[in-house]
């Protein structure tokens, strides 16, 4: 019970500190501006295609294009790219700053476990990320309100769930990167490079032979996101994301414990 409270104490402080610095506002604004621009362009494109088929008097094809496939799925994909850049900026300070300010000495001499510290910090970033996701909820809302026929709710929710797990995995990598250094820029770069690598690790899958190819494909984060974005919910992907996150958190815990041994 006490350790659960410790987690909340740590994450409460962490979350508040996002909002007393400009970081939170800059990241939120940046994210909304970029995703808004993507959304706007996808809508324009959708309208153009729709009116083109109507002009060609092909209502059969016009019937087949829909807001889910033409707007929401590509929008979520674009958002994964923005996350790739934004998550390192959200997570870089988590442990690096503690070391720089020497506040790690406070945390590690308090009667609170390393596990609680790691979990607390992770949950704080995760909560901030959920706030970002909630803000982007305006786009599907617009589609439901003005689009006709309305898009399918199920596949949008599934897409968001996928985005949530993808972001949650990114944050776990960011937390680990931040525990490696006291320099925030270095933490951000390590995080960005690792994320990008996990993004494209499946590329040589077709040429390296079937077993190695399957392994690479399995490790690729975006591969597991694809089904979610299409509205397919598969527990296989859920298991992958959860084990990925837990493994990264475990490494972070180990990394924090190891400062004491250096």
């Amino acid at each position: 019970m006490k350790s659960v409270m410790d987690v909340f104490h740590v994450s409460g402080r962490e979350l508040r500190s996002y909002f007393v610095s400009p970081v939170a506002y800059v990241v939120l604004t940046g994210y909304v501006v970029l995703s808004g621009w993507f959304f706007f362009n996808l809508l324009v494109q959708f309208n153009r295609v729709l009116s083109m088929y109507e002009m060609l008097r092909r209502p059969d094809i016009a019937m087949q294009i829909n807001l889910n496939d033409m707007v929401m799925t590509p929008l979520l994909y674009n958002m994964t790219i923005v996350l790739l850049i934004m998550i390192p900026l959200i997570t870089m300070r988590l442990f690096a700053e503690e070391k720089k300010l020497k506040t790690d000495e406070l945390l590690l001499t308090s009667p609170i476990s390393v596990g609680a510290i790691v979990t607390g910090k992770y949950l704080a970033s995760l909560a901030f990320f959920v706030l970002i996701l909630v803000l982007t909820g305006i786009y599907p809302w617009i589609l439901f309100h003005y689009g006709s026929p309305s898009p399918e709710l199920g596949s949008i929710l599934s897409g968001y769930l996928g985005l949530f797990f993808l972001g949650a995995s990114f944050i776990a990598v960011g937390l680990f990167s931040s525990s490696l250094t006291e320099n925030q820029i270095v933490a951000a770069v390590i995080c960005f490079v690792s994320l990008l690598l996990f993004f494209v690790i499946g590329w040589p899958a077709e040429t390296v032979g079937s077993t190695a190819g399957k392994v690479l494909e399995y490790l690729s984060l975006i591969e597991h996101f694809t089904d979610f974005s299409k509205g397919l919910f598969d527990t296989r992907h859920l298991v992958f994301f959860l084990s990925f996150i837990l493994f990264a958190l475990f490494l972070t815990k180990r990394s924090i414990e190891s400062y004491r041994w250096r």
């Binding site: 104490h9 402080r13 610095s21 506040t103 790690d104 406070l106 590690l108 308090s110 009667p111």
Partner: protein, 237 residues
């Protein structure tokens, strides 16, 4: 209260602390002296559970720091060399947070906050952002942080560094008033300070104890300054 036995800490080939043994009784105020790099900070970090030792044992209030660190950490207040403050927080917000993670029960938190704010002279700045505070105030916030859970043992690494003369006097008064009810180890470079606050002195040089005695015995023949210089420069050549 504090039992240190054969404590050794090595970093690779470098031995920071070698075969250190000493005892501190309940209510004592012990001055921990030594030249820079003698191993004072390392020893204090081991006592607080921040660093593990290479070998040896440390017991605080009967609890072993290596096998039962949580019990020890609850009973220790620690002011490191740099006050471990989050610069973007207010003094009050910071101290409340420390009270939480140090395990002060919810109902007693505001009382504990009020107590340390009064004792450390922080009432004028309690609503201010720590980043905007002077070094002296930050140091006092650091001290308040170490005392908020009313620990039995206080470990203070150069508590009066960066303070102006008036503040130094206040902090010394504060430490003196804690003696008896608290066990205190403090490190310092200001020798007159030791004469004023401490009953006992530990002098450490290159990781080894070179003196462990009451202030009276140590300064029976010579001033503390000359004792210190004699003991710590002997084997330099």
């Amino acid at each position: 209260m504090i039992d240190v036995e054969n404590l050794t800490k090595r970093y690779g080939d470098f031995t920071a602390v070698e075969d250190l043994s000493f005892r501190v009784e309940k209510g004592e105020v012990v001055g921990f002296l030594g030249p820079n790099g003698a191993g004072k900070t390392t020893t204090m970090r081991i006592l607080t559970g921040f660093l593990p030792a290479t070998s040896g044992a440390v017991k605080i209030s009967g609890y072993d720091i290596f096998s039962d660190p949580m019990s020890v950490k609850k009973r220790i207040g620690y002011l490191p060399e740099h006050p471990p403050v989050y610069t973007e927080m207010t003094v009050e917000g910071y101290l409340k947070y420390v009270a939480k993670i140090r395990g002060v029960p919810r109902k007693k938190r505001s009382e504990a906050l009020q107590r340390v704010v009064n004792r450390c002279g922080l009432s004028d700045v309690r609503g201010q952002i720590i980043d905007k505070l002077s070094k002296g105030y930050r140091q006092r916030v650091g001290l308040a942080q170490a005392m908020i859970h009313d620990p039995e043992v206080l470990i203070l690494d150069e508590p009066t560094i960066g303070l102006d003369p008036k503040q130094i006097i206040e902090i010394r008064e504060l430490i003196r008033s804690l003696a008896g009810s608290h066990t205190i180890i403090l490190s310092t470079h200001i020798l007159p300070e030791v004469t004023m606050i401490c009953q006992r002195v530990l002098i450490i040089d290159r990781g080894k104890i070179v003196a462990d005695d009451t202030l009276q015995n140590l300064t029976a023949q010579d001033s503390l300054e000359s004792v210190f210089i004699k003991l710590t420069t002997e084997d330099v050549q």
